[in-house]
C-alpha cells in the first residue's frame, strides 16, 4: 500500500503530470496564472474537487450502472464544483469576482473527468483519493510556478505585495494571455528537455 501511494504520487507529480505531460487543464493554466493569490485559490478548488470526486465515484463504483457512468461522474463533479463556487462567493468575494467564470469551468477541467474515468471508476476509495490528491498537486505546482514568474515580471509583485522597486519596468505582456503561452511552453521545455532527460525518464 505504501509503495502504491508513492507510485501514485510519482505518476501525478512527474511521470504522468496532468499539465505538462498529458497537457490537460490548459484553459485554467493560461487564464488564472497572472496573480499568485488567484492561482492558489484555483488550485485549492481543483484539488478539493478532484480528490473528493475521485473518492465519491470510487465509493459508488459498484453501484453505478456502466451505461450511465459518465452522467453520474459529471453529476458528482459538478456538485463539488458548485460547493467551491458557493463557498468562494460567500467567504472570499473579491477572489470569486476575479476568478469569474473559471471556478464554474472546473467542471470541464479534463484532469477531473480523466482521473474519474482512468482511475476512480475501477479502483478502491483510498487509492482513488490519493490519486486525486496527486493529480491535483501535480496541477498545483505547475500553475503556482508559472504564476510566480508571471506576477513578478508582469507586475513587480508577489501575492499582491510589491517586491520589485520603482526601477522595475513591468512586462505587461506577462500578465496578458500571451505571457501564459510563453511560460507554459518554457515550463514544458524545461521539464521534458532538461529535467527528464537528465533522469533518463523521457
Amino acid at each position: 500500500m505504501k509503495g502504491n501511494a508513492k507510485k501514485l504520487f510519482r505518476e501525478g507529480l512527474f511521470k504522468n503530470n496532468p499539465v505538462f505531460i498529458q497537457i490537460l487543464g490548459i484553459c485554467s493554466t493560461l487564464a488564472v496564472t497572472n496573480r499568485v493569490k488567484n492561482t492558489v485559490v484555483m488550485v485549492a478548488g481543483l484539488l478539493f474537487v478532484v480528490a473528493l470526486s475521485n473518492l465519491t465515484i470510487s465509493l459508488l463504483r459498484k453501484a453505478i450502472p456502466s451505461r450511465v457512468r459518465m452522467m453520474a461522474e459529471v453529476l458528482i463533479i459538478a456538485s463539488f464544483v458548485i460547493i467551491v463556487d458557493i463557498v468562494l462567493k460567500a467567504y472570499l468575494w473579491d477572489i470569486s469576482k476575479q476568478l469569474g467564470p473559471y471556478v464554474g469551468l472546473i467542471i470541464t477541467n479534463c484532469i477531473i473527468m480523466g482521473r474519474a474515468e482512468a482511475f476512480a471508476i475501477s479502483n478502491p476509495p483510498w487509492p482513488s483519493f490519493l490519486d486525486g490528491v496527486a493529480s491535483g498537486l501535480g496541477y498545483a505546482y505547475v500553475l503556482v510556478s508559472i504564476a510566480i514568474v508571471r506576477e513578478l515580471l508582469g507586475n513587480g509583485t508577489l501575492w499582491g505585495i510589491q517586491v520589485l522597486g520603482d526601477w522595475w519596468v513591468k512586462w505587461t505582456m506577462m500578465v496578458m494571455a500571451s505571457g501564459a503561452f510563453f511560460m507554459l511552453a518554457l515550463f514544458i521545455w524545461v521539464m521534458k528537455g532538461v529535467v527528464f532527460r537528465e533522469r533518463g525518464d523521457a
Binding site: 453520474a72 468575494w93 469576482k97 500578465v175
Partner: protein, 214 residues
Amino acid sequence: MPERKSVWGTGLYTIFFMTFLTALFISLLSALFLKTRPRILVNESYDYKSAILRAAGDEGDQTDRNAVIARYDSSVEEKKIPQGGELYYKVVLGDGSTAYVFPFRGGGLWGEIEGVLGYNKALTEITGFDILKQNETPGLGGRITEKWFKDQFRGKSGPFKEIVTGGEDVADDSPNSFQAVTGATATSAAVQSMMNDVIRNRVEALRAVPEEER
C-alpha cells in the same frame, strides 16, 4: 450480478439510481445554498452600493459591509429622469448634503466598462467617480480603477474636452480635462466619451428639472 438480467436490472435500476443520486446531490447543494444565501446577497449588493455612496462623496467607513448597506438603504433613493426615463440615484448624506449619482456603461478597449458618476446638488461639480466593472489591460488600462485616477474628477465640472497625457506629474487644473493613464490612450478616451455622454445627456436633462422635483 444475476438480477441485472431482469426488468429491474435492464432499465429500472439505472433510472432509480440516477434519480436517487440526483436527488441526493441537489438536496446537499440546496442546503448549502440556503445557508450561505444571506452572506452572498450582502456581498453582491455591497460593491454596487458602496460605489454609489463613494461617488456621492460619502467618506464613511467602507469596510463593514452591513453598515455600508444600511447607510445606503437609509440615504439613497432610486429615481428616473422625467425626460427619457433613465435611472439615477438621489443621495442625502449624513451631513445633509445632497448628491445625484448616474450609472453609466460603455465600450472600453477589450470589453464593457461600467461605473458611476456623482454630481453635487446644483449639478455643477463632480462629487465622485467609480468603476464597477472593467476588462482593460492589467497594469495599463486596468489602472482606471486606481484611487488617483478616480479621485482626480472630484471638483471638476465636465464635459471633458481634453485628456492630459505625460504622466501623473503633469499639472492639470482645468475643470474640463483629466489625466490619462500613461500607455492606455484608448481606455482613457473610452472613459472620456462615456463620461461626456452622461454629462451631455443625463446631467443636462436633470438640470432642466426644477430642484425640488429632482
